[in-house]
Each structure stands twice: as C-alpha cells, then as structure tokens.
Symmetry: C2
Subunit: 239 residues, 2 copies
DNA sequence: TAGATTGTTAATCGATTAACAATC
DNA sequence: TAGATTGTTAATCGATTAACAATC
C-alpha cells in the first residue's frame, strides 16, 4: 500500500543531463497532482502567447509557494532558466512526457449511468490523449444502445474486447456491490490501471494501478471543514 | 493556503475526558478521509450485527496499518476497549459526530449536467444527512424543468433562495470558465462550503471551506502510475 | 553591470510506524 | 489467569519551506 522506494531520490543530481528524463526519481502523489495543475496553467500561458513564466507566477496562480513549484519542476528535469523563468512550451512538453500525456491511452468504461455519461462527454480527457474505446453495462435494457457514439456492450464482451482493443485503462462507474467483481474481471482481462468511482476500497494486484475517487468522502470532508471553520483558520483542499 | 494551526495537538491528552469531544485537536486531511472509510466499514459491521471490531480488522479491510487506525481513532476520543476492540455502534456515532454527519446539511447544486444528475441521484448522500434543497442553471432551456424532484432555477434566484432556504453547502458542476464567477456569488450569498468539480483552482475567502475534485488530475495520476508501474513497486491511491 | 530567477541545500514541519505498558 | 487489544510514546520517514549561491 505505502510507497517503499525513495532511496534514489537524492541520487538524481549525480546523473548527467543527457536524455530529457534519465530514470527520473519516483515522484510523490502530491507532486504528480501539482504537475497536472502546472500543466493546465502553462497551457493557458501558451494560449495567451507568453514566452516565459516564473515559479512565482505559477505559485500565485495555484496557491502554492514558489519554492514548491521550483522543487516540483526540478524533480522532472532542469527546465528553468535562471534569471528568466520557464518557457511555457518547453515546460508543457516536459510535464506531458512525465505524466504520459505525450501518447494515446485507450480507455474502457464499465457501468453506464449519469456519472459515466458526464465522463464520456467531458472533452478535456480527449484533449490530453485519453480515448474511450468501449463501454460496458450489465443491464440488458442498455445493451446495444449508443452513448457518445459508443455502443454499450454486455459484460460478457469485456474480456475479449479489452484484449482486441488493447485497452490500457478502465473507468469503473458501477454500484458499490458490483465494483470488486468487475475490477477482478478487468484485471484478468489485462487492464493496467483503474479509475474507480465506486464507494468501496478495491483490492487489485500490485501490477495494476488504482486511483479511487470517493465522492462521499469528499462531501464529508467538506462538512468537517465547515464545522471546524469558524473556530479555526480555514484551509481548503484540492484532490 | 497551508494549515497553520498545530500547536495544540500534543496538548490533548492533558484534557480530562468529560464531554465526548472536548475541543478536539484539528484533524489532518488524511485522518478525516480515513474516518470516512472507517465509518463506512463500521456501518457494514453494524448491519451484520457484529458487537466488536478491532483496529486490525479495520486495517485489513481498508489496506492501512492497525497503528494508523488506532492513532486516527484515538484522536477523536477514547473509543476503544483494551483487550476487546471497538464497539461498532459507539464508534459509528463518534465518527458521525466528528464529521458532522449527526445533523442535516442543506445543499444547493449549480450547473445541471450529467455529473449533477449523477450526484442528485446518488442515495448515499441523503443517507449521511446531505439534502439537496435547490438546483440552478444558467441555460434558459433548462430553467423550470425538474430533476430528481427539484425545479431548476435561474441564476438570478441563487442569492435569494440560498438565503431563504438557509443552505450551507454548494456543489459546483459548471464549466471551468464559469466556476469562479459562480463561486463568488455563492460566497456572497452566504454559503459556508463549496464542493467544486470544475477543473480550475478556485479562490474563496478563508471563511468559506473548499474541497475540489479534479477528475482530469485523477486520470492523469493514473496514467503516471501505469507508466511507472512495471519498473517500480506499485502503489495505489484513494482520494 | 544590475536585477531577476533558478536549482539545491539545510531546517522545519508533519505524518506514519513500531513497540509496549496498561487494561480488559 | 492468559490472551487480546488499546492508547501512547519514540523513532522513522517524507514533504514543505526558507535561504542563497549560481546563472542568465
């Protein structure tokens, strides 16, 4: 469960800066999440035609410290120019490469409810290289219907289609009671990563990556914060 | 942005155990998230009629260490019974109280798309005391329609209705470009907490609590994990 | 050159884990 | 009593911040 590998962190500076990403040290969750924010911000800068952006500008836009930004960015390479800042294009490219957004990901979706429809319709995913290649549901009434241009397949098609399409990622939007069973099927079918929205703690083998988004937990977090806000200094959370 | 208050943490043991929650120390984000998991697990135990549950059982079910569970639970009170474990009912009640689930929260929702419909339909929220009292949208075509028994109101009704209904929480499911503007209106209308789904970093005053769920970030996390999985020992993430 | 800004180090802060006396 | 399990302490681990020499 916990991350075990951190030995090689401080070994990085020793390495010559030949290829852009020479066996980069493992990045922490928090760092990876912030890289996503930086990328979004930098892409906005690119659009406005800016030729440079400083750690301070990035920090102010995102509500973190400039030191944090520099630390995060230094972890993925020597991308900055002392006295200048970062060049949006260079930076965006480097972040995309680290996050794996410089390629196409084939994604299947299991469980076609409203949440699934929202995700399928969200154009932001496609823009970053995530392409939905198949959707599945167990409800006979839904099978054969079309959502966002995709035919809904029965669960019996899960394994063969994932194999045939070479899908790497799956989004799980089934009810809690069905989630573990479907996850097991996805794992067996060779899926490499699962984004789970079912409110359960899933168990998958260590060869498969798992990110869970638990909306109930988020709303409960909010209730806790509100309840403890007046007394305390407020703090906000970004997941 | 960062949490500033932590002085009183180790001062807690000094305090006599009179009332159930005597000025409880501030809990970390991570702890609050785990409390939500514990609650869910404990509620399942309650349903199966279990009369006790140990930190080890809880830990195994959720993939954390038993020490972690005891630490988290000790932070909200002396709830365990040495040699026995925790009593599900007592524990569930204590967690509910800490998270503010022992009361009713009035929630408004702004932006009626598929994500909103999914959230409105999700029964889990109601079960924990979150009640949707109004929904708003800026699209004239949607105004006056009904979703899950609620009439969709125009944005001009936001301020008066929030005041009239005494709504405390808001869920923001509008497009990115509209999010900050709507957040400002919600703040002005007296909302105490916002659960934001728009993929932007929102700015709200420190008197208002904010939790953001950024689905793009989560999918990018997954891509990063998959990309770095084979080489590394795998780790999974629960938000 | 003077001013700006990075990458990196050391210091700080906070969260997790291991271990065990106290307790039922 | 013997066995089980908590709450708490100390040790460890990791992440953030501050400061500044190096660089453009």
């Amino acid at each position: 469960m916990r991350e075990k590998a951190s030995r090689n962190r401080s070994a990085v500076p020793v390495r010559p800066r030949e290829s852009p990403l020479p066996l980069a040290a493992r990045l922490s969750r928090a760092t990876v999440a912030r890289l996503s924010w930086y990328l979004r911000q930098v892409q906005m800068s690119e659009r406005t035609g800016a030729t440079r952006i400083s750690s301070r500008e990035l920090a102010d836009a995102l509500g973190v410290t400039a030191a944090q930004v520099r630390k995060d960015l230094a972890a993925i390479g020597s991308l900055g120019h002392p006295g200048i800042g970062y060049r949006p294009q260079e930076l965006a490219e480097a972040i995309r490469q680290v996050l794996g957004l410089d390629r196409t990901w084939s994604v299947v979706l299991v469980g076609v409810g409203n949440l699934a429809r929202a995700l399928l319709r969200y154009a932001g995913f496609g823009r970053q290289g995530f392409h939905f290649v198949a959707v599945f549901d167990s409800d006979p009434a839904k099978i054969g219907q079309t959502v966002e241009g995709l035919t809904i397949w029965p669960m019996s098609e899960l394994t063969p289609r994932i194999a045939a399409l070479g899908a790497q990622l799956a989004i799980l939007t089934v009810p809690a009671h069905a989630a573990q069973g479907v996850a097991d099927q996805l794992v067996a079918a060779g899926i490499r990563g699962i984004l789970n929205f079912a409110p359960v703690v899933l168990r998958v083998p260590s060869t498969v990556s798992l990110v869970s988004v638990d909306l109930t937990v988020q709303l409960e977090q909010l209730a806790y914060l509100v309840l403890n806000a007046t007394a305390n200094g407020e703090s906000s959370r970004h997941s």
